[in-house]
């Protein structure tokens, strides 16, 4: 027997403001292992785009190689997509973004695709502050090649094979912070309440938005000895505060006691409402964010939630001063004005 999803949806699950049903945001049925955390992240992306009333055809999803990079097939089936070369998602996204700055770019990568083979690409795309959402589906292993430890596997963590990792792990959030990302968050595939608003805010963030999502590999890395299994992660979560995404022009209907929440303005007028908790710190302070990641780690915990937010950083287009209009909409004449203009330009540089 084959494996198909029925075409019926809940009759009371209505369309969003654009008139699209949730079905317009779904993709093909997942072929990942049953219980894979990545499927939950896909579901969160679907939900976020549905709630934000995005038009699927104005989104491009770009990925590299790996289990994580297969997922764009399973969400936003009506969006543009490019399943690229291993570790090269950032280059392809950069190219696409330069050609058409009007699309929303969702880059999906894994711990191998980002922290190993694609590390150089990752570093530079952060540094250039490309306007995109960069999601790492981080399971600490190479699931597609039978679960070898990846560069994000914590030292001492043992997967199904039972051999503890001897190397220190790479913390992608810390790396992103160091390289100047304006939006850095970490979440857990099993916590959609946190993940979905984080994705929404990342979409609305102008510039590079990075989310490292711990996403258990049920097949190879969901053992009690692994720091990336469902149980361990759940037991060791430490949130920076709970977040609510408030779309622009909508009223905040819930009252929170004074001093317990903080609003973070996003580029298009929407806001991120942050409920502080006991471990509150200044989210716009790079130093505080770095400190908090480290101090949480010392407590053997994983810091999740929005870790750092700075809207003022200029994105690639602003930095290199490209034209407002997407390049793919410019005419041949505008893009290639001819030898006379070239001569003039050359002359001006002599």
């Amino acid at each position: 027997m084959t494996f198909v999803r029925p075409n019926f949806r809940h009759p009371e699950n209505h369309t969003n403001q654009r008139g699209y049903s949730i079905k317009n945001y779904e993709g093909a049925l997942s072929t990942l292992c049953a219980g894979c955390g990545h499927d939950s992240i896909s579901a969160s992306i679907i939900k976020s785009c549905f709630d934000l009333n995005l038009e699927p055809h104005k989104i491009a999803k770009i990925s590299g190689i790996g289990c994580s990079s297969k997922t764009p097939t399973y969400f936003l089936g009506k969006a543009h997509g490019f399943n690229s070369v291993h570790g090269r998602m950032p280059s392809v996204t950069t190219g696409a973004n330069l050609a058409n700055r009007d699309l929303l770019y969702i880059g999906v990568s894994g711990d191998g695709d980002t922290a190993s083979i694609g590390m150089g690409q990752f570093a530079h795309v952060v540094r250039r502050n490309l306007n995109m959402v960069y999601i790492v589906m981080n399971n600490g292993c190479y699931g597609l090649t039978k679960g070898q430890d990846s560069a994000t596997a914590d030292k001492g963590s043992a997967s199904k094979k039972g051999v503890p990792s001897v190397f220190d792990s790479i913390d992608l959030c810390q790396l992103a912070l160091q390289l100047g990302a304006g939006y850095v968050a970490r979440s857990f595939s099993g916590d959609k309440k946190q993940l979905t608003p984080l994705i929404k805010a990342a979409i609305k963030h102008q510039g590079f938005a990075f989310i490292d999502v711990v996403s258990p590999c049920v097949t190879f890395n969901n053992t009690p000895t692994s720091t990336k299994g469902y149980e361990w992660v759940r037991d060791h979560l430490e949130a920076t505060g709970t977040v609510d995404f408030i779309p622009s022009k909508s009223e905040i209907t819930v009252d929170y006691p004074e001093g317990t929440t903080r609003k973070l303005a996003l580029h298009d007028g929407s806001e991120l409402l942050l409920h502080k908790n006991a471990h509150d710190y200044d989210l716009s302070s790079l130093k505080a964010a770095m400190d908090r990641i480290e101090s949480t780690k010392e407590l053997d915990k994983i810091l999740t939630g929005l870790i750092y937010h700075n809207q003022s950083v200029q994105d690639t287009h602003e930095l290199i001063q490209t034209v407002e209009q997407p390049l793919n909409e410019l005419s041949q004449q505008q893009l290639c004005p001819g030898s006379k203009v070239l001569e003039k330009l050359n002359a001006s540089l002599r």
Binding site: F3, R5, P6, R9, H10, E12, S30, A34, C36, E231
Partner: protein, 590 residues
């Protein structure tokens, strides 16, 4: 909410909406799957065991199952359950060898059945295999009761009825046809161990006080009596202009019979708005298909006669007015309408009637002069007298009569063997995992997206020319298959085991209808509000798990679950399993 107790059959039974709604609790999805598999004999026998008259019901059932069908909540139309039953009946081979054996050695208990309709026949069907000796009394010349006298042959061919009635009579029931029982005392004097009354609701309502009723009598007929006379071929024609009073199924049968017996201008006239007519929507549709007009909001005022002959009727136009409580009253508009006619058929209700039960026998009668009958045991205050079918509490339908018959047979069996009649046997229940392997289930979860298939009819001109010609052609085999594939397999239950769940959310993510939730527990009303899609249909239960490791619970709204099995398919630990729930109602001796 407390965790759902699935150890009691009630919970999963309720999920199988069609079976739960059926008075006889026929395992509908089970036989629909057998039809899809081309196993018509097996599908027929499941029906036969449960509802006794699959061929009859596949044509005439009131179908309480269909409005309940989950498919009707997911798209517009339910599965055509009733007509699928007919597919099984029409395409089966000879099943006589599968009927229960009748012991040669009798158990020495004698039972009298009064009335030969579905209730009595069901009692016979259940008791004969247990060795009872049964006498059946009926004033008609054949068995079947109202199924024979009131359902016209163009809806139910006589051969179909004969076949299913005879399966039972051939078990060795001693029939006393053409014999009207006029005294219960006389029956009781024959020393039966038990007597079952299944005499239906044989008296049609009249309008005795309407002016002109007496002088027009020759052309004013009680609908059910007139239908019976047609069925037994005492009547074969009617006037050209016919008025049928009433908006129930009998009215629909009357008007359609009238145009077959020479009626040219046949009208149905109802007091209420058309939307409130009691007839099943499909029966109204069938009458309208034969170009019979319905006049709504017409209250009969008088029969008009000329020279002692009926020439028409006067009606007063009314309009429905609703008060603050939403209660409807029909208020006269003052306008009067005269409709000329040659004959009037009154189909405005039926009553039970027990002039033949003496009131001094120990059978208690209530304030409405109806016998007191226990709702569970069907026993009267005279312990060895039982009443079921329409005779018990007024007109219902064939399938309800069958359900009564099964229950009464249980009571009679208990009574005859000195067991308490209130001691009811539990249903036979089976819950079987459908898991075969990777992506492989014992049931076919690939439901069809087709809309409900329409049953083809024979040519209209041909149909109205012959009273005995069956109008519906029934589904052919491929249509039957296609319709069967619309069934959602609601009997294949989603069974959740809390201990195995690792809360990976895979089921929640994959569920196409968003019915699975992992959430904090709360009282039911609150919980219904906080689900991903609010659970607004309170007739449908919430399936709540034990507390999970994260202190949350799994809550599944059963309302529109497609039973597609994707939750179980995507579950890495087997916390979800698809298990077929098969419930057979208990019958006497089992």
């Amino acid at each position: 909410m407390k965790p759902t107790d699935t150890t009691k059959p009630e919970y999963f039974h309720k999920v199988v909406d069609c079976q739960y709604a059926c008075p006889a609790h026929t395992p509908v999805p089970e036989y629909i799957r057998l039809i899809a598999a081309g196993r018509y004999d097996d599908a027929y026998m499941i029906n036969w065991q449960s509802n006794v008259f699959p061929g009859v019901l596949g044509r005439t059932c009131d179908r309480p199952c269909e409005p309940a069908c989950r498919r009707g909540r997911i798209e517009e139309e339910p599965v055509a359950i009733c007509r699928l039953k007919r597919v099984a009946a029409d395409n089966k081979s000879d099943i006589t060898h599968r009927l229960p054996a009748i012991p040669k050695e009798k158990n020495g208990k004698r039972v009298a059945l009064i009335g030969g309709g579905p209730a009595s026949l069901t009692v016979a069907r259940d008791l004969m295999p247990l060795g009872y000796s049964i006498d059946l009394y009926d004033d008609q010349n054949k068995g079947g009761g109202f199924m024979r006298s009131q359902i016209p042959s163009f809806r139910l061919p006589e051969a179909v009825l004969d076949e299913e009635v005879n399966y039972i009579l051939d078990m060795g029931v001693v029939t006393h046809f053409n014999q009207e029982v006029t005294s219960m005392a006389a029956v009781l004097s024959k020393q039966y161990d038990a007597v079952f009354v299944g005499t239906g609701a044989p008296r049609g309502r009249d309008l005795p006080d309407l002016p002109g009723r007496n002088s027009g009598d020759a052309n004013i007929h009680i609908g059910i009596d007139w239908l019976a006379s047609v069925a037994f071929e005492h009547i074969d024609k009617i006037g050209k202009k016919v008025l049928v009073l009433g908006g129930g199924n009998t009215a629909m049968d009357c008007c359609r019979t009238a145009i077959r017996l020479g009626g040219e201008d046949v009208r149905v006239v109802v007091r209420s708005p058309k939307s409130d007519m009691k007839a099943s929507p499909w029966e109204i549709e069938d009458a309208e298909h034969e170009d019979i007009p319905m006049y709504e909001n017409h209250n009969p005022k008088a029969f008009v006669t000329e020279n002692g002959r009926l020439v028409g009727m006067v009606f007063e136009r009314v309009e429905p007015v609703f008060d603050e409580q939403g209660k409807r009253s029909l208020v006269p508009t003052g306008e009067e309408v005269m409709m000329p006619c040659d004959d009037v058929l009154m189909a405005i209700g039926q009553l039970n009637s027990f002039p033949w039960i003496e009131r001094n026998l120990g059978i208690e009668f209530n304030d409405w002069d109806m016998p007191e009958v226990d709702k569970t045991t069907f026993q009267t205050s005279l312990p060895h007298v039982f009443i079921g079918g329409d005779a018990a509490w007024g007109p219902e339908n064939v399938i309800t009569a069958v359900a009564h018959g099964h229950q009464a047979a249980i009571s009679i069996h208990h009574y005859c063997h000195g067991k308490s009649t209130t001691d009811r046997p539990a249903p036979e229940v089976n819950l079987t995992s459908q898991k075969m392997g990777f992506h492989d289930w014992l049931y076919d979860a690939h439901i069809s997206d087709d809309q409900r298939h329409v049953v083809a009819l024979i040519d209209k001109q041909k149909a109205v020319g012959d009273r005995k010609l069956e109008v519906e052609k029934g589904f052919d085999l491929s249509q039957g298959y296609e319709e069967a594939m619309r069934c959602l397999n609601c009997d294949v239950q989603t069974v959740f085991e809390t201990d195995r769940c690792i809360e990976c959310d895979a089921c929640e993510d994959i569920c196409p209808v968003d019915c699975i939730n992992f959430t904090d527990n709360a009282p039911e009303d609150l919980l219904r509000e906080q689900l991903k899609v609010k659970a607004t249909n309170k007739d449908q239960d919430l399936y709540v798990s034990d507390e999970l490791k994260t202190k949350r619970v799994m809550v599944k709204d059963e309302n529109v679950c497609l039973h597609c099995g994707l939750c179980a398919e995507r579950c890495p630990t087997g916390a979800w399993d698809m298990q077929k729930f098969l419930l057979h109602e208990a019958t006497a001796g089992k």
